[in-house]
Symmetry: none
Subunit: 192 residues, 4 copies
Amino acid sequence: MSPRTSTQLQALREERSMQILRAALKVFANQGYNGSTIEMIAREAGVAKGLLYSYFESKEKLLESLITYGLEKASAFLTEPPDGPQHTKEAFAANLRKMVQLFREEQDFWRLYSMLILQPKMAEKFKADAMSFLETYMSVYGSYFQQKQSKNPMAEAMLFGAVLDGLMFDLILSPDEYPLEEVLDMIIEKFA
Amino acid sequence: MSPRTSTQLQALREERSMQILRAALKVFANQGYNGSTIEMIAREAGVAKGLLYSYFESKEKLLESLITYGLEKASAFLTEPPDGPQHTKEAFAANLRKMVQLFREEQDFWRLYSMLILQPKMAEKFKADAMSFLETYMSVYGSYFQQKQSKNPMAEAMLFGAVLDGLMFDLILSPDEYPLEEVLDMIIEKFA
Amino acid sequence: MSPRTSTQLQALREERSMQILRAALKVFANQGYNGSTIEMIAREAGVAKGLLYSYFESKEKLLESLITYGLEKASAFLTEPPDGPQHTKEAFAANLRKMVQLFREEQDFWRLYSMLILQPKMAEKFKADAMSFLETYMSVYGSYFQQKQSKNPMAEAMLFGAVLDGLMFDLILSPDEYPLEEVLDMIIEKFA
Amino acid sequence: MSPRTSTQLQALREERSMQILRAALKVFANQGYNGSTIEMIAREAGVAKGLLYSYFESKEKLLESLITYGLEKASAFLTEPPDGPQHTKEAFAANLRKMVQLFREEQDFWRLYSMLILQPKMAEKFKADAMSFLETYMSVYGSYFQQKQSKNPMAEAMLFGAVLDGLMFDLILSPDEYPLEEVLDMIIEKFA
DNA sequence: TATGAATGAGATTTCATTCAT
DNA sequence: AATGAATGAAATCTCATTCAT
């Protein structure tokens, strides 16, 4: 057999790396960072313990990569240019559903992320990434409430943020029974 | 000297027990359950490691006691009979502020509780207590939305729940800068 | 009330001391020395942990007292002057039964003693006491086999010692079902 | 370099496992189960503490493995088919010497085993293994005494068992000075 | 690159002993 | 004398990380 080209090797590394990240996300989200062991992650990824260390320096760095990667992906998702006119009720509704979809596709990530930022010690590590994501989020959503004749656009924007966070939280706790559609309609009715 | 009476002893144990629970709450809330050590808790409580085991069977049981105690306290708080007429805008506002006060007084507890229920493995342990608290919460808030001429009382109640959860979440993340009063007014405007 | 006389106090101490020794024997015999805790012994004796230390310097000293006391009692039992003529078959049988009775009355003690001398580290502690007891035992039994026309009195004495030890061992293991009488008859038939 | 093959791995684990069992036997036999520490065993085996837990779940399970393994080995030894005719005086003598050899080769094991079955709590754990060994032992020795014109074959068998147990006990206590040959001759004279 | 045995620091837990009451 | 809360050294056990193969 001919030796693999460096491009093939690169692709292989990339794939293995993702495999490990996926496994780590699943395990961290279910057991918490400190409750997870390298052993669990390796088993979930279907590789040997030692191999993790050829892809990630340490358990801590693995977590950091995971969060950075997840937030970047989410930012990219958020900043995909929307099609059609903005600032209409329809655009608001479409954006809202997009947010929910973003969350549903990456539930484990958001669960893990929520757990982490609730711990001051952990939160610190991700302050930079979190701030950067928050800015994206704000630039996407902030302007909307400035267009409406709200008595207090700033407060309404904060409240809407709380609605999204609370919705996410409640969806994590009961993903199956939650009456999502009806609640979304109610949000649109109250905020759009 | 003569030994302490059993009354003295009981009071001593009660006091120590609370002292340890307070310390554990602080440490668990800041480091997470798995990131906390018995050593940290003992140091925070100002007692020797070994003493914790004379009051609580294990680290795990200590956590369980903490959560059970906290939820019971919160339930008691919620069910204190309100004064004045109910189902008015004013009563709604008063209740809302009471909820926020409850949360602010026990921020560490709610932070810890939130972290825990995000982890399936942990959540299971507290299912019974959590359900019992949820029922109290629902019986207090559920009826309100049945009185209003809401198109969908059920969805509105769920949404209001998400608002409370999201507000709590955001208050944990930035307790000092949060424009709480303005957001509360906005909530009252939209939901009362 | 008049203060207790020093004689009364003395008697009280004596009684308490015995109470603790009895408890310690029971616990040590059932859990082994290292598997027993001061707490267990105190509970069994019906007194507080701290009190043990006003009667015995340490757990180790308590064990030593126990063994010394037990061996002394056994020596005293052995050297009680037998009534009637010695060196007859009947005397042999009587002595044998007396040995068995001695053992049965203090089963826990012999169980503990056996456990201890099987461990070199423990055995050392009791070497002096054990030797002293062995001498008593030998002086009582040694002469018997010198009277009989045994090919090898010394070996027969050793073998008889093994019989007694093995009998004790087997009686510990199945105290209820053991066909003691039949085995004793067999011993008498073979050795008397 | 390439990783070890699973055959190599298995051999390695087998070897290490035996190494740890040997070390554990030595330490347990000398200090007693509760008087032994994992540290002592690891040091004796020449490996790190943590490694023991990769081979045995817990200290307790290590003990259980040790006993099970030892009794199985002894059973195998006992049931090796004897050569030559049975039920003769010579066969009896040969068997007796075989028993003694079995014991001498595994003195530490029998010392440990004796210590353990004297403690009810420990004995329970090994009841199954102990019974199974006892049956083997009985099937090997039981038949002998049914052949002889003994007044009471059952009692004689029990007594012979006690002789073996007592001999073992006494050999543990003074392995070097014991006049084994003379005592064995005496046993053969009395029982064969 | 890939494996999993091996390490040892550090976590949880136990318990003999002390001591204030 | 008697109590049992409190201590802390030492035990058991865990797990991130290293390393020989």
